[in-house]
């Protein structure tokens, strides 16, 4: 049975991140493009005209706060202040929920800290009726679209205010009324469903579109391929978004074949338009989304957008990121913080100041605290969820079936 250990002679290549706990991360080799290339083609251009965009990086906001270049969108100062508020709200809610999870109020939580601009910039550029197929890190879309934060919190608390009656784990929201598709716990699956949704839009001759999301890690699932392939074949009016936040759970983007090529570039081989955008730059995200939405609505088919960003927190409340990456990596990440960058822009154009900003942060924090209180009053995991156990038998089918009725009776009997 004993066979030689081939440890040191193996030629098998296994990618590794540059820095692990204990290392001093240095990202000076990652050039932050200043020229704000590449240029903005016509949204109905041939797909291959966007091939360069798949490997470059669309940016609008300079660190100075200036908005520059071809892609700089026209957004009113009011709308920008609204966006800043959405960013701050999302972050405050994430922080609050994380803390409450630690106190045992809910089983689990997932923050979107560091990548809020992807959701909010994206949502601003879509119509509210465009259906998004989100992952668990696009809560910003709901916030932007004005979903009830209390309902969101109640979902996480699995309590009597939870629109899902406690059926799903925290964060897996479903808000049809806000064009927000039910989030699946199974990675990747919704990409191709979103393409199907978009095909139905085309079939119905509607000019609504769909926008589907995946993390860079989950692009390795077959569904990502199905989505690109079917979107190409049927020219489905949709946006396929890869949020490359550098990390899956503990594995870096090189494990997701990110060393070979950018994630945006996956699209070129399918004949899709491709854009790669600085995901910490809300204006760039907005501009890229706007371009792709116009393309999709105009019959130009799907665009693959890579949002290049960084996951500042752990994957979820279940992992400790300092176990697999340097503790200060989020701080040295060279693309800055999306909230700070938008704030700087607003200050730069004279539409905001530090005092207003401090007031905003204080206000959203206290708003969130109040909303949370009223949500927790409806139950939580640490006390009583106040969800009727019998609801577990509902919505398995449209109408209950005899064997489920029988099981309901068995369950009732075992209560005594």
């Amino acid at each position: 049975m004993a066979k030689p250990i081939r440890l040191n002679t193996s030629r098998l290549y296994v990618p590794e991140p540059q820095f692990r706990p204990g290392d001093t991360p240095d990202y000076s080799h990652i050039a932050v493009p200043v020229a704000h290339t590449p240029s903005r083609p016509d949204p109905l251009c041939a797909a291959h005209e966007t091939t360069p965009h798949a490997t470059k990086l669309i940016r609008v906001l300079r660190f100075s706060g200036e908005a520059a270049g071809d892609w700089a969108p026209k957004i009113s100062a009011d709308a920008l202040r609204g966006a800043l508020r959405d960013l701050a709200l999302t972050r405050a809610m994430d922080d609050r929920m994380f803390t409450m999870q630690r106190q045992g109020k809910m089983s689990f939580y997932m923050k979107s800290t560091g990548e809020e601009a992807v959701s909010i910039g994206h949502a601003m550029a879509l119509r509210d009726t465009d259906m998004v197929f989100p992952t668990y890190r696009q809560q910003g879309i709901l916030i932007h679209r004005g979903a009830s934060i209390k309902e969101m919190m109640c979902q996480c608390l699995s309590n009597s205010g939870d629109p899902l009656d406690g059926k799903s784990i925290p964060v897996l929201y479903s808000f049809k009324k806000h064009g927000f598709f039910s989030i699946s716990g199974n990675l990747g699956t919704q990409l191709i469903q979103g393409v199907g949704w978009a095909m139905a839009n085309a079939y119905k001759d509607s000019d609504e579109i769909a926008s589907v999301f995946t993390g860079e890690g989950a692009t390795a699932e077959g569904d990502f391929h199905y989505a690109l392939n079917f979107a190409s074949t049927y020219r489905a009016p949709c946006l396929i978004n890869v949020v490359n936040n550098q990390w899956a759970i503990s594995s870096f983007q090189g494990i997701a074949a990110g060393e070979g090529e950018t994630f945006a570039a996956r699209g070129t081989g399918y004949g899709l338009a491709t854009l790669r955008v600085d995901g910490n730059d809300l204006l760039a995200v907005y501009a890229a989304t706007k371009w792709a939405a116009e393309r999709a609505r105009g019959g130009g088919g799907a665009t693959l957008i890579e949002h290049f960003t960084y996951r500042k927190s752990g994957h979820s409340t279940s992992d400790d990121p300092t176990k697999y990456r340097p503790e200060n990596e989020p701080d040295v990440w060279p693309f800055g913080d999306p909230l700070d960058r938008l704030k700087n822009h607003l200050i730069h154009i004279g539409e905001w100041d530090e005092d207003q900003h401090t007031a905003l942060l204080t206000e959203v924090k206290s708003d969130i605290r109040e909303i949370y209180k009223s949500a927790e009053a409806m139950g939580s995991l640490s006390g009583e969820t106040k969800v009727n156990d019998f609801t577990m038998f509902e919505q398995v089918y449209e109408r209950s079936l005899p064997h489920l009725d029988e099981q309901k009776r068995m369950f009732a009997a075992e209560q005594d």
Binding site: L164, S182, D223, F230, Y397
Partner: protein, 337 residues
């Protein structure tokens, strides 16, 4: 009434629904211009248009994935999986997604899709064109699984499936497409032409999901079966002169347990027949439920007659198939016990 074989009946069901409801779309590998490898969709593209009956990439996961998205967006997709043996790449989309979308969103989104796929052996299809994977679907909450054994039921059940607001697996015993099959591959082939269940009404009718059909009445034994094995059961019972309640389940989930219970309580004996692999096949569930419910009426152990726990071999197809000998053996055994 028109006489149809099972392929024609299935096609007619789609045609009826496509004509009634602009939300019904049909797609799958080779289903468009060509009309499907078994011709089930022949003529539908020409009649209803390129957008309503079309070819897909060879990607079962993708096919079910777009079906779910379309269905959530208000359409009624009917997806064909060319052979049930090729449904596994779509298993995740079926079991994790279609089956649970309604539940996890608490009714906010739903997936009223129909998946049609040919099952069973008897055409020398070997390991990859012969499988009967029904038990892999009956284990998943949120799915319905039906399997007709004749043209009449095929059309009515398919219409009911398309109209159902939950995802339905519609399994088609391919050996029955052209005629009933009584288990002897060397006997002259029968067609549906002279069979009463080959008489298929025109237009819309439903066979309700969840209702079994009793094929014959008898006091000796209850035979529970579905698909191809229905006709083998009929033939063997007749040849052996056994007076059997033969129940064609038609719908595996939901199951017509009332009819089953009544019958076994009357006969006191039960044999279950299916083509699928034995271990953890749907026969296990049937046996478990029958003994749970009819224990005191049973006079002998419930026997299962099934395919063997091997892949479906090619050259040994008829040694694998649970044919008349195997069925007869079990029937005699249960009667003698």
């Amino acid at each position: 009434m028109p006489e149809m074989n099972m392929i024609e009946a299935i096609r007619d069901a789609m045609d009826v629904k496509m004509s009634q409801d602009g939300d019904v779309l049909v797609f799958g590998e080779d289903v468009g211009y060509f009309g499907g490898v078994f011709r089930a969709t022949a003529g539908l593209q020409e009649k209803h248009g390129l957008h309503r009956c079309f070819d897909t990439p060879i990607s079962e996961g993708g096919i079910v994935g777009i079906a779910i998205g379309m269905a959530a967006n208000g359409l009624r997709p009917v997806a064909e999986i060319q052979f049930a043996d090729y449904i596994y790449p779509a298993y995740d989309q079926i079991a994790s997604e279609a089956a649970r979308l309604r539940y996890r969103s608490n009714g906010d989104f739903t997936a009223p899709i129909t998946i049609r796929t040919p099952v069973g052996g008897g055409i020398y299809g070997g390991t990859t064109h012969s499988q009967s994977p029904e038990a892999l679907f009956t284990h998943i909450a949120g799915l319905k699984t039906v399997i007709p054994s004749n043209p009449y039921d095929a059309k009515g059940l398919l219409i009911a499936a398309i109209e159902d607001n939950d995802p339905v697996l519609f399994l088609e015993p391919k050996r029955l497409y052209n005629g009933p099959f009584y288990g002897d591959p060397h006997a002259p082939a029968k067609t549906w032409r002279d069979h009463e269940l080959g008489e298929v009404p025109t237009g819309h009718y439903r066979v309700e999901i969840g209702e079994a059909r009793k094929l014959s009445n008898g006091d000796d034994v209850t035979i529970l079966t579905y698909g191809t094995m229905v006709w083998v059961a009929q033939k063997v019972a007749k040849d052996l002169g056994v007076e059997a309640d033969i129940i064609d389940l038609r719908s595996l989930l939901p199951l017509d347990i009332e009819m089953i219970e009544r019958s076994v309580n009357k006969t006191g004996r039960c044999v279950i027949l299916h083509e699928a692999t034995r271990t953890s096949g749907f026969g296990a569930e049937l046996a478990a439920q029958v003994q749970e419910r009819c224990f005191y009426a049973l006079e002998s152990p419930i026997l299962r007659v099934t395919g063997w726990d091997t892949p479906y071999p090619h050259a040994q197809e008829w040694a694998y198939f649970p044919g008349p000998k195997r069925v007869g053996h079990a029937l005699r055994q249960v009667m003698e016990a």
